[in-house]
């Protein structure tokens, strides 16, 4: 466990925060940390910025992220990592497809390799970390395209050589169902699952024997298509199978 200090806390929107901390860690785009709030839980968080200073960007879902958002400048910040693999180096035309907090994970790539960014959120108020020229989709149409980011992006998939995707599993599943492995582009997807250890030994994040924390978080579309469990069910904290509500694959 390392510790450093909070350098800055930026409120990105009503419930998304960017926490910058004082550390000389070296990480590659797409890697994540296990963040610890002493006395509270330890949770996985992507690095939204890799260095000088590094940062995480998170939505206040529940208790732990809420406590995190209440840290003050100078407060101690605890983490281990970085963990996980990273996005491959792209060439040609690049697209980024983000749903929800998935943009946090993609952000360090976007800052490094230019490309078209497609972002989806429920409403305008849920957006954050936006840059010039981003293609926006909102479920309620309050900004940009009305519908999901997949609805917006899918028709354009074959315009790109590299596509990097990060978002909720059902969203990614929707993209795969549309593309069905026939895209000419190389598609890489950063997955999210419940994570307890972050270092590949507890098995809580595994999908068909692939550990999201260690074999991933980033997988090629071909790998994800071989995961028969993907988009069908996930595991609860007990390891029990829980089906996604939008039905079986």
């Amino acid at each position: 466990m390392e510790h450093s200090r909070v350098i800055d806390m930026v409120k990105e929107n009503k419930d998304v925060f960017t926490l910058k901390f004082d550390s000389t860690l070296t990480a590659r785009p797409g890697q994540f940390l296990m963040i610890w709030v002493p006395g509270g839980r330890e949770i996985p968080m992507s690095l939204s910025n890799l260095s000088s200073p590094p940062s995480i960007t998170f939505r206040t879902f529940g208790e732990t992220t809420k406590t995190l958002s209440q840290l003050k400048i100078g407060d101690r910040f605890y983490f281990r990592g970085p963990y996980g693999n990273s996005y491959p180096v792209p060439s040609g035309k690049v697209a980024y497809v983000a749903g929800g907090t998935g943009l946090a994970s993609l952000n360090s790539m976007i800052l490094t390799y230019s490309g078209d960014v497609f972002v989806g959120a429920r409403t305008k108020e849920d957006l954050f970390l936006l840059g010039d020229g981003y293609h926006i989709a909102t479920d309620d149409g309050s900004l940009g395209f009305k519908g999901t980011v997949i609805d917006m992006f899918a028709p354009h998939v074959n315009e790109y050589d590299y596509v990097f995707v990060c978002g909720p599993e059902p969203m990614v599943k929707a993209l795969l169902d549309r593309v069905k492995g026939n895209a000419r582009s190389k598609i890489y997807i950063s997955l999210e699952r419940l994570m307890k250890c972050g270092v590949g030994i507890c098995d809580s994040c595994s999908i068909n024997g692939f550990r999201v924390c260690k074999d991933g978080t980033i997988f090629s579309m071909e790998e994800v298509l071989r995961m028969t469990e993907f988009g069908v069910y996930k595991r609860t904290e007990s390891g029990k199978i829980e089906f996604f509500t939008n039905g079986k694959r």
């Binding site: 610890w36 590949g200 507890c202 007990s238 029990k240």
Partner: protein, 298 residues
């Protein structure tokens, strides 16, 4: 090439390296991955009667000499377990680990395991129970004896008794467990980790189980003591990371070994690395088969 196959009771393993309970074995997909990566067999995460979420994170803490964990026996419960493993293709090479707070629970679980067409159970005798506050089921000699007798009497399962090292006298414990087909030695050592700046415990549960290289000398002692006294089949576990570590256990009487924490350092290639190392050692030291070195120092 020297043979590295081994036998625990009437169970023949192609090689002696087994995945330990609780590491990369919560999902059937990962069990298959270990078996495909060269494990001789695999033990499931310990399964109880009811679904348990386990402790909140942090559930592991890496230290310089190994790992502390307090996962808290998270498991989907026997019903969900049986459901998930319905069409599972590797039941012979999979040992189902079960835990309970009393004899009845253990026996009921064992019967469910047999009903699900597995033929081996490993008894995790290291969970807290009620009779003695703060003590473990596995520290209660009478209960250990009873659990094993009833499972042996009531099922046709091969029974592996996994013993706790957190006792004054592991040999007495082994004797209480002597109706088991094999001993598995050792489970984790009770321990604590501290973070000095937050002044909080490294694990949410405060006390955890210590595994990895730091407990190997303790595990070797347990295997030696128990083998010397009982000459029974032993599966050695605790800190095994290299093939040299495995050889140490064989020389003291283990017929097979389990690896857990080492997966953190070596990942899935560990099975073939250890197997190759054992075969090369047997070759170069001029032994025809693994059995020739089992217990030779005792």
């Amino acid at each position: 090439m020297a043979s590295i196959s081994t036998r625990i009771g009437n169970f023949t393993l192609e090689n002696p390296v087994i995945l330990a309970s609780g590491i990369l074995d919560e999902t059937s997909g990962s069990i298959l991955r270990s078996l495909k990566s060269g494990a001789g067999a695999a033990v499931t995460k310990s399964i109880g009667t009811e679904e348990r979420r386990g402790y909140q994170t942090p559930v592991i803490s890496e230290i310089s000499t190994g790992l502390l964990n307090a996962v808290g026996l998270s498991n989907p419960g026997i019903d969900n377990f049986v459901e998930e493993y319905k069409g599972f293709p590797e039941k012979k090479r999979t040992i189902v680990s079960i835990f309970g707070g009393n004899t009845e629970e253990f026996v009921a679980l064992a019967k469910r395991v047999e009903g699900a067409k597995f033929d081996k159970v490993e008894l995790n005798l290291s969970c807290p129970h009620v009779r003695g506050v703060g003590s473990e089921v596995g520290q209660d000699l009478d209960m250990v004896e009873e659990i094993i007798a009833e499972i042996k009497g009531g099922t046709n399962l091969q029974v592996w008794a996994k013993l706790t090292p957190n006792v004054t006298d592991v040999v007495a414990l082994a004797k209480a467990a002597e109706k088991a087909d094999a001993y598995v030695l050792i489970n984790t050592v009770r321990a604590i980790g501290v973070e000095i700046y937050s002044r909080k415990f490294a694990l949410a549960n405060i006390v955890g189980g210590y595994s990895g290289p730091g407990i190997k000398p303790v595990a070797l002692r347990a295997v030696y003591d128990v083998y010397k006294e009982t000459r029974k089949d032993i599966v050695g576990v605790g800190g095994i990371t290299t093939w040299e570590d495995a050889i140490e256990f064989f020389l003291l009487g283990a017929k097979a070994v389990q690896v857990g924490t080492a997966l953190l350092y070596e990942d899935y290639p560990i099975y073939s690395r250890i197997n190759l190392g054992i075969a090369n050692y047997l070759e170069s030291e001029k032994f025809a088969k693994l059995g020739d070195i089992v217990g030779v120092m005792v």
